[in-house]
C-alpha cells in the first residue's frame, strides 16, 4: 500500500485519513471502517465546494 500512497503523494492528493489494509478477507468491522473512510472523504470534499 506504500506504493499507492507514494503515488497519491506525488499527485499532491490530500489524505482523508490513514489508508486501510486487510489481511485476507475484510470482516464487518473492517468494512465499517472503509465506509467511514468514504464518509470522511466526502466530508472533506464538501467542505471545499
Amino acid at each position: 500500500m506504500k506504493e499507492t500512497e507514494d503515488n497519491l503523494a506525488e499527485m499532491k492528493v490530500e489524505k482523508a485519513g490513514e489508508g486501510i489494509r486487510v489481511k485476507n478477507v475484510p470482516n464487518a468491522d473492517l468494512l465499517s471502517r472503509c465506509y467511514e473512510l468514504g464518509k470522511a472523504m466526502a466530508e472533506k470534499v464538501r467542505s471545499r465546494l
Binding site: 506504493e3 492528493v13 489494509r21 465506509y35 473512510l37 464518509k39 466526502a42 472533506k44
Partner: protein, 359 residues
C-alpha cells in the same frame, strides 16, 4: 481511379485538407475508440499556405485533397504549428514534392523538425506575436510552449478571426462531418473532455495563463481549427469555456474509486468506501481496472473531488494494472483531490525477502 478525397471549405479562403484515421485505437496509452483525424489546412490567398501536415502513412490522402482544389506545386509556404509526428510525419516528403518558398515553425519547432527528420533546408523560426503577410491576408503566430510540446504554437488568420490551434481544442474522433455543429453534441462533449484529460491536463496552469493572455489581447475567434477532430465555428466560446473549467480543476461533489482485485477482498473494500462516499453526498464512480481502460479513469477524474485507490498485494507490490493506472495518473497530474489508499493481501502481509530462508 478518380480522386475521391476532396478538400472541404472551412471559410472562403481556408480549406481542410487533412486525413481520417478510422482505425487508430491507441495514442500512447490513450484509448481512441472513435479513431482520429489529422487536420491540415490550406489557405488559398495570394500566398498559398499549408498549415501543418499529417501522419506519414496518410500523406497521399492529404495530397489528394490538396490537389482537388489547387496544384500542390503552387504552395508557397508551409507552417508547422506542432512538430509531433502525427502532424509532421509527412513534412519531409511534402517539402520535397512541393518545394515551398519557405517553411515556418517556432524556434523550438524549427530545431525539433531538423532533429526529427534531418530536413536539409532552412526552416524559418518565428517569434511570439510575429506576423506573416500572405498578401491579402495576415497570419499572426502565438507561442504556446508546452501546450503540449515545447515547440507548440498557434497561428491566427487575422482577417478571418480563425485560430489554427494545433492540438488544443481538438479531440480524437474520426468522422466525415468536419464541423462541430454537424456532429453529435454528446459525442463531442465526451471526446473533447477525454482528450483534455488524457493529453492537456498536466499543462492546465499554462492553459489558464493562455486564456488570460488571449482575453487580455482582445482576440476573438469566429473559427477554431484544431489538428484533430471537428472544426469549431458558429459557437467557439463553449470549447474555450470548457478548457477554462477543466484547467481550473475545481473540485465537484464527485468521487472516483479505482481498484483491482484478486479474490474480491479489495473489491469489497472498494464497495464499502463507495457507499460511504455516497452517504456523504458525493456522486461516485466505482471503476475496476480489470474492466475499464486507464483513459476512462482520467476522464472521470475531471471535476472529481476525491480519489480512492485500492490494490491487493502481489509479490510485495501492486497488481500490475494498478501500477499502470498510478503511473499514468502521476504523469497527468490531476489536482485538488482528497484521497485514500486501501487494499488486501493474503498471508503473509510481508513476504520474506530473497535469501532470507537460507540464512
Amino acid at each position: 481511379m478518380k480522386n475521391t478525397f476532396k478538400a472541404v471549405p472551412v471559410t472562403e479562403d481556408v480549406w481542410w485538407v487533412g486525413a481520417i484515421d478510422w482505425n487508430i485505437r491507441d495514442f500512447h496509452g490513450y484509448q481512441t475508440r472513435r479513431g482520429s483525424t489529422y487536420n491540415a489546412y490550406l489557405i488559398l490567398t495570394d500566398t498559398v499556405t499549408l498549415i501543418d501536415t499529417v501522419k506519414a502513412p496518410f500523406r497521399e490522402e492529404m495530397m489528394a485533397r490538396i490537389a482537388s482544389v489547387i496544384d500542390p506545386g503552387k504552395i508557397d509556404y508551409i507552417v508547422s504549428n506542432h512538430s509531433e509526428m502525427d502532424h509532421s510525419g509527412s513534412l519531409p516528403e511534402v517539402i520535397a514534392a512541393v518545394n515551398p518558398k519557405k517553411v515556418f515553425a517556432s524556434a523550438v519547432g524549427a530545431k525539433t523538425l531538423k532533429e526529427l527528420f534531418s530536413i536539409d533546408r532552412e526552416i524559418t523560426a518565428v517569434k511570439d506575436g510575429e506576423t506573416l503577410s500572405l498578401g491579402n491576408r495576415t497570419l499572426t503566430f502565438l507561442e504556446t510552449r508546452m501546450l503540449h510540446w515545447p515547440d507548440s504554437m498557434f497561428s491566427y488568420l487575422n482577417e478571418e478571426e480563425l485560430l489554427f490551434s494545433q492540438d488544443a481544442f481538438g479531440m480524437h474522433y474520426a468522422s466525415l462531418e468536419r464541423f462541430a455543429d454537424e456532429s453529435d453534441p454528446a459525442i463531442l462533449a465526451y471526446e473533447a473532455a477525454t482528450y483534455y484529460a488524457n493529453i492537456i491536463l498536466p499543462y492546465s496552469p499554462l492553459v489558464l495563463k493562455l486564456i488570460e493572455r488571449v482575453t487580455a489581447a482582445g482576440l476573438s475567434f469566429r473559427t477554431i481549427a484544431p489538428d484533430h477532430g471537428p472544426i469549431w465555428r458558429k459557437e467557439t466560446g463553449g470549447i474555450i469555456g470548457n478548457y477554462a473549467k477543466w484547467a481550473a480543476q475545481k473540485p465537484e461533489a464527485k468521487a472516483v474509486v479505482v481498484y483491482a482485485t484478486m479474490w474480491h477482498s479489495t473489491e469489497m473494500m472498494a464497495r464499502a468506501i463507495s457507499e460511504g462516499l455516497a452517504a456523504g453526498g458525493l456522486h461516485v464512480k466505482l471503476m475496476s481496472m480489470d474492466e475499464v481502460h486507464r483513459s476512462d479513469v482520467v476522464y472521470e477524474l475531471l471535476g472529481a473531488g476525491a480519489l480512492a485507490v485500492g490494490s491487493p498485494t502481489l509479490n510485495n507490490h501492486l497488481l500490475p494494472n494498478m501500477a499502470d493506472i498510478l503511473t499514468y495518473l502521476t504523469g497527468l497530474k490531476p489536482r485538488n483531490l482528497i484521497g485514500a489508499a486501501f487494499g488486501s493481501s493474503s498471508a503473509p502481509l510481508s513476504a520474506p525477502t530473497a535469501g532470507a530462508g537460507r540464512r
